[in-house]
């Protein structure tokens, strides 16, 4: 079952400029593994060298932060959408 993953602007260079891609998996962790398999350039931006999700990248299942669900074990169902929300600093210059 393919789930839609919304890609934020700073990470679109790693998904052939697509703003949404699809990945397969029953949990958020499986989806992200499939996503980084398909788009290997994303891996370094989402995970640190120990394979842990980076703390300046938040993953949302619909409008909920997975840190407050079951983290990467959070199950994903039909019609769910995953969002990757990295921190962005721009504003003044």
């Amino acid at each position: 079952m393919a789930t839609k993953i919304l890609i934020p602007t700073p990470l679109r260079p790693y998904t052939d400029k697509k703003d949404a891609v699809e990945a397969d998996g029953a949990t958020v962790g499986e989806l992200l593994a499939d996503l980084t398999q398909k788009h290997s350039g994303l891996r370094n931006h989402l995970f640190n060298e120990h394979g842990k999700l980076r703390s300046f990248v938040n993953i949302y299942l619909n409008d909920e932060d997975i840190r407050y669900l079951q983290k990467e074990q959070t199950p994903v169902g039909a019609g769910d959408t995953i969002s990757i929300i990295p921190s962005v600093a721009g504003g003044a210059s």
Partner: protein, 394 residues
């Protein structure tokens, strides 16, 4: 509840009644709301993309006192989005330019300007006399500093951030709401997230986000509506879509949690992994000898007929603006996929606009077994300055 509830509300002069009549006839604002605005104060961190529209609307709306912090000078490349400044202001201090514009919009507003970089030493003192802090900065150390100072002082932070055509907004550091650290406990390491100067920004985008920040500041002061607390607004200008994500106050948050570990302002440059220049010098210069090339050296070697493969790792639209003759365009995001176009035994010079992206490209190439990779120091901008001044800079 309004952030100015403890203050005695000033009266409105006849001139002010005329000026604010479209507010006064709305029951949600009315005379009392306008008096709250007059009693209220907002400090804008940065008079740039976000601070420009925010400060202009706050002044027009009649916020009694507006503070601005900036230390920059107006540049031509600012004018595409920083609408508080005009063409005749290029070269002036942003604060002087902004002060003139705001005074022209509304002479009833008291303006305070601080020509300084926000720091751990001055932040608490600067924030103290204001009701709302409006974060319009452009870098992570100042964002974390602004957040922590707001939490420590109990001041709401009308937050906005932009990149290319996507913006984020929220209200942080209210009494029961989350703060920026609840959302992002740690910043990204330097270099992993591009800045606006590197990534570009759609000129109208900070207009939308800055005005959302100003809207939230006005709502906090008047105490009307539903503030953007515990909600993270994401705006995609290309798709013309707003999305809202839920934010929770993190009980383990190091600054606003139940057992905070950050109880005073820290060294935010260090927190964000930025090494002070003095300490960095020795290792970098040693390393630079083997991994970097200056534009003058590159020109000499090209003139000499040395066999060098030049690779431009910028995006195609940047390549259209200016280029080094004979270079091959392989954007950073494509380099891993297009390694077969390059010979690992050749001497390769990678370059971008200023040297940041090409340093990453050089690391990737070296990790893939490329033996002779040099990064063009200062990028194509340095090449134009030192070698080919006929080309335009951006």
């Amino acid at each position: 509840m309004s952030v100015v509830f403890e203050k005695e509300l000033p009266t409105l002069t006849n001139d002010e009644v005329k000026r604010y009549s479209r507010h006064l006839i709305m029951p949600e604002v009315g005379v009392d709301g306008q008096r709250k605005l007059k009693a209220g104060s907002v400090l804008c961190i940065g008079a740039g993309g976000l601070g420009s529209p925010a400060a202009m609307y706050l002044a027009a709306a009649g916020v009694g006192r507006i503070g601005l912090i900036d230390f920059d000078v107006v540049d031509f490349s600012n004018l595409q989005r920083q609408i508080i400044h005009g063409t005749p202001d290029v070269g002036r201090s942003k604060l002087d330019s902004a002060r003139d514009r705001l005074r022209a919009i509304n002479p009833h507003v008291e303006l305070e300007t601080y020509e300084a970089a926000l720091s751990s030493e001055n932040a608490l003192k600067l924030f103290e006399p204001y009701d709302v802090i409006l974060d319009g900065t452009d870098n992570f150390p100042t964002r974390y500093l602004t957040n922590d100072a707001c939490v420590l002082l109990g001041k709401p932070n009308a937050y906005g951030s932009i990149f290319r055509f996507e913006g984020q907004a929220s209200v942080f550091a209210t009494k029961d709401g989350p703060c920026y650290r609840c959302l992002y406990p740690e910043p990204p390491p330097p270099g992993l997230v591009p800045s606006c100067a590197e990534g570009g920004v759609l000129g109208v985008l900070p207009g939308v986000i800055g005005v959302i920040q100003a809207t939230e500041a006005i709502k906090l002061i008047t105490g009307i509506g539903e503030p953007l607390i515990g909600r993270f607004l994401i705006y995609d200008a290309l798709r013309m879509r707003f999305r809202e994500l839920k934010l929770k106050k993190d009980p383990d948050c190091p600054v606003c949690g139940t057992h905070p570990t950050v109880t005073r302002l820290i060294d935010y440059e260090q927190f964000c992994g930025i090494v002070p220049a003095a300490k960095e010098q020795t290792p970098v210069s040693v390393q630079a000898n083997n991994t970097e090339i200056t534009s003058v050296e590159l020109k000499q070697r090209l003139d000499r007929g040395d066999k060098l493969t030049l690779v431009d790792v910028r995006e195609p639209n940047e390549y259209q603006i200016n280029r080094i003759p004979g270079t091959t365009l392989i954007p950073l995001g494509e380099i891993e996929r297009r390694l077969s176009e390059l010979n690992p035994d050749d001497e390769i010079v990678v370059h971008c606009k200023m040297g940041g992206r090409s340093a990453k490209a050089a690391d990737i190439l070296r990790s893939k077994g490329f033996k002779h990779v040099l990064n063009l120091k200062g990028g194509i901008l340095d090449w134009i300055d030192k070698v080919d001044p006929t080309q335009p800079k951006y």
